[in-house]
């Protein structure tokens, strides 16, 4: 037990270091982009006077390093600062967007993860027969098509032709849960189709790998049913790689869905981040970048811990 605690502490410390490194990278990255925030805010209609006035007001004349550290200091006190572009509190506007992103990712995960694992088990049970081939063919097709394309196709049929669900997934706090779910129905379908194949194939491969083991043969010889063998013996032993892939896909659902957000005008974090990158709004970009990095690192941490707990050999290292 003690070693697990040490391990988790180590991982967390490493994670924080990684986050700091990420913040530096993002800061340097945004600094070397052409044009500055004042120019980006005022666009083509900027006059030199207006530019100078805005630059002075935004404190862009200070050196980059002092700007970085004053921001980091604020961050550590839980103050994300205000957006340079519209003067809004970052924590507040980011909070709403993060909630929306989590909402969409949650429902996509609730549908796709069990479905992927179920389909993976089914594919193992009927290995090399038509259900296996059909499942693989369909999921590999949907992962190969760009997600905006799947989005457009589903919009065309489900929204325009059949009028079942809306094509615009704009949600707000005034909507009931039912209305929100109705609004995100098509984006959830798209995301499910996009992440299904990866998880399904990994489940299938991991379990097939275990199925070669001697103890599976023993179980078979003692007359156990195929599905029961998979459920009781193969799945628990294959859980580590499956969890890893599931976590990777969950991370994708949180940080990688900007294209889907644009197609459905979903008010998530991706679009929020892109808007601020194009305006060189460094504080917001950094805050978003850190949250995204934290999600990745956090989910990978969870994957590690689950793998350790699922495997007695890792639980008691020599």
């Amino acid at each position: 037990m003690r070693s697990i605690l040490t391990l988790i502490t180590q991982r967390l410390a490493l994670g924080i270091l990684l986050l700091l490194a990420a913040s530096v990278l993002i800061f340097v990255g945004t600094s070397i982009l052409p044009g500055d925030v004042a120019q980006a805010i005022l666009g083509q209609s900027a006059t030199p006077e207006a530019l100078d006035n805005l630059r002075r007001e935004l404190g862009l004349e200070e050196p980059a390093i002092s700007r970085y550290f004053s921001w980091l200091g604020g961050m550590l006190q839980g103050d994300l600062g205000t957006a340079l572009t519209n003067g809004r509190d970052i924590a507040e506007s980011l909070g709403g967007r993060l909630k929306n992103t989590m909402f969409l990712a949650f429902w996509a995960a609730v549908i796709s993860v069990p479905l992927a694992i179920f389909l993976g088990l089914l594919a193992v049970r009927y290995k090399d027969r038509w259900p296996d081939k059909l499942i693989s063919a369909v999921t590999l097709t949907t992962i190969s098509i760009p997600e905006f394309m799947i989005g457009y196709v589903l919009i065309y049929w489900i929204s325009i032709q059949w009028g079942m669900f809306p094509s615009v997934a704009i949600i707000n706090d005034g909507m009931s849960l039912g209305e929100k779910l109705n609004a995100i129905a098509i984006p959830v379908m798209v995301l499910t189709l996009v992440v299904l194949a990866h998880m399904m194939r990994m489940t299938r491969a991991a379990i097939l790998n275990v199925m070669q083991s001697a103890y599976i043969e023993t179980a078979e010889l003692k007359g156990m049913g195929m599905l029961k063998i998979i459920r009781k013996h193969a799945l628990p032993n294959a859980i580590a790689p499956i969890i890893n892939v599931v976590m990777l896909n969950l991370a994708y659902l949180v940080v990688g869905v900007v294209v889907v957000e644009v197609v459905f005008a979903y008010p998530g974090m991706g679009q929020y981040l892109v808007d601020h990158v194009s305006k060189r709004d460094v504080p917001v970009v950094q805050a978003c970048g850190l949250i995204f990095a934290a999600v990745y690192i956090g989910l990978n941490l969870v994957a590690d811990i689950v793998s350790i707990l699922a495997n007695p050999r890792l639980r008691h290292p020599k």
């Binding site: 666009g43 006077e49 957006a83 519209n86 003067g87 094509s167 005008a265 679009q271």
Partner: protein, 528 residues
Amino acid sequence: MNEQLKEMSAKVARGLMTRREFVGRAAALGVTAAVANSMLAGTARAQEPKKGGDLKLGSIGGESTNSLDPALAASQVPYANLYHFAETLVEVAPDGSIENRLAESYEASADAKTWMFKIRKGVEFHNGKELTPEDVMRTMERHSNEDSQSGALGILRDFESMKVEGDTFSLTLKTANADLPALLADYHLMIQPDGGFDNPASGVGTGPFIVESDEPGVRHLFRRNPNYWDPARGHVDSSEVLVLNDATARTAALQAGQVHIANRVDPKVAALLGRSPNITIRNASGPGHYVFIMHVDSAPFDNNELRLALKYAIDRTDMVDKILRGYGSIGNDSPINASYPLFTEMEQRNYDPEKAREHYAKSGHDGSPIILQVSDVAFPGAVDAAQLFQQTAQAAGIPLELKREPGDGYWSEVWNKQPFCASYWGGRATQDQMWSTAYLSTADWNDTRWKREDFDRMLIEARGELDNDKRKAIYAAMGQMVRDEGGLICPMFNDFVNGVSTQVQGWIDDPTGDMMSGTYSGKVWLDT
């Protein structure tokens, strides 16, 4: 025949046919234009605006960085928002005339230097405060003072002094300007309580709608202002602006009936979209134009023969067909077209490889490739247009080399910096404003480096000239100068193309600005 005419006038009323089409087809049926027009007037009278309903616009140009501060508005969504909750002193009406809004009337001194605006009484801001001439003066102060970040700062630099007397706001200019009211119709100059000094982004104005929900980059919801002063505007109960930056998402939302209006319809799909029974495509020819601009002071473009060679080497008609799909009109290397008041037609310059070859030979250019910098963000289809230009120039023996630039940073690093690049202009309300913004020697955005003393003198002279015939003649001469010697290659003027549901009534194809010059929400009504 009568039945046919009735059906046609019903179509006009539903917006399925334009007035011009109607008169044309009526003439084909043997009805004179005068009779046809009076029939239409009858239909229009039968069209009483209906109250109620929730209007929804799917709009391009919204970002989570947007603010309700009128000074910072620079794209379509903030622009649409402003006309919901606030108003300017005057507006430019669809026919180019000046329409009084918060100013009840105005007059100018004989030398066009001092302008007096009588401010409307009994108008209330959304916070309950009554509009005063001081609010107007403070607004102008905020946009013109030294700390201003306003997009309107450029046009206000000419203010000398302002004062309030009773119910009149008057301002004095350094140089005479006969177009001042049109300048004050600029969308940044929305009148705010105390000029917006205390809270510029409060969203409090005198407009026909009150801000209900403001979620930048997502949606903006407004409800009707029950205390609005003008009964002719504000028919729908609520108006919502949904940010749909993706062109396909906008058209899909319109087709699925989730929005009533989708702006900036891609010309490629406009004709297809217009075939749906519930959607009409409304296009208005405006002052916006797509350009290739040369710095007349940098080699090799400091040679007018080379400039002329390039101007003759571009196929304008082909570009209107291929890039705008017919939703636009050909340019004539001047930024001014028929959408401006006091416009004079010039001889049309056409694609002429022979003449281009001749001028190119005369220029003595050494034959090295001429580099044209272009990016997708310069205007929709800019890269394709540049490739067409390259081919037609090739046919005239002019070697054009395209250099594709990233969209990010294009406006800060390429436009107005590099000697030859693609760009666009949204146009301005008046000729004076357009010329002053981009062709005056001292203009910040003189993106062709057109610096000519004689031209500047003519511009100043026209500005103070209250006799319209004389002004028109000066503007014509200026246009001719830029066309024949300037650095502007203007292949096309783009239309404003919007997809509008047939439920929307009262829509006007307004050439002075997109989305009925921003005022669509107050003017249209829903017929469900």
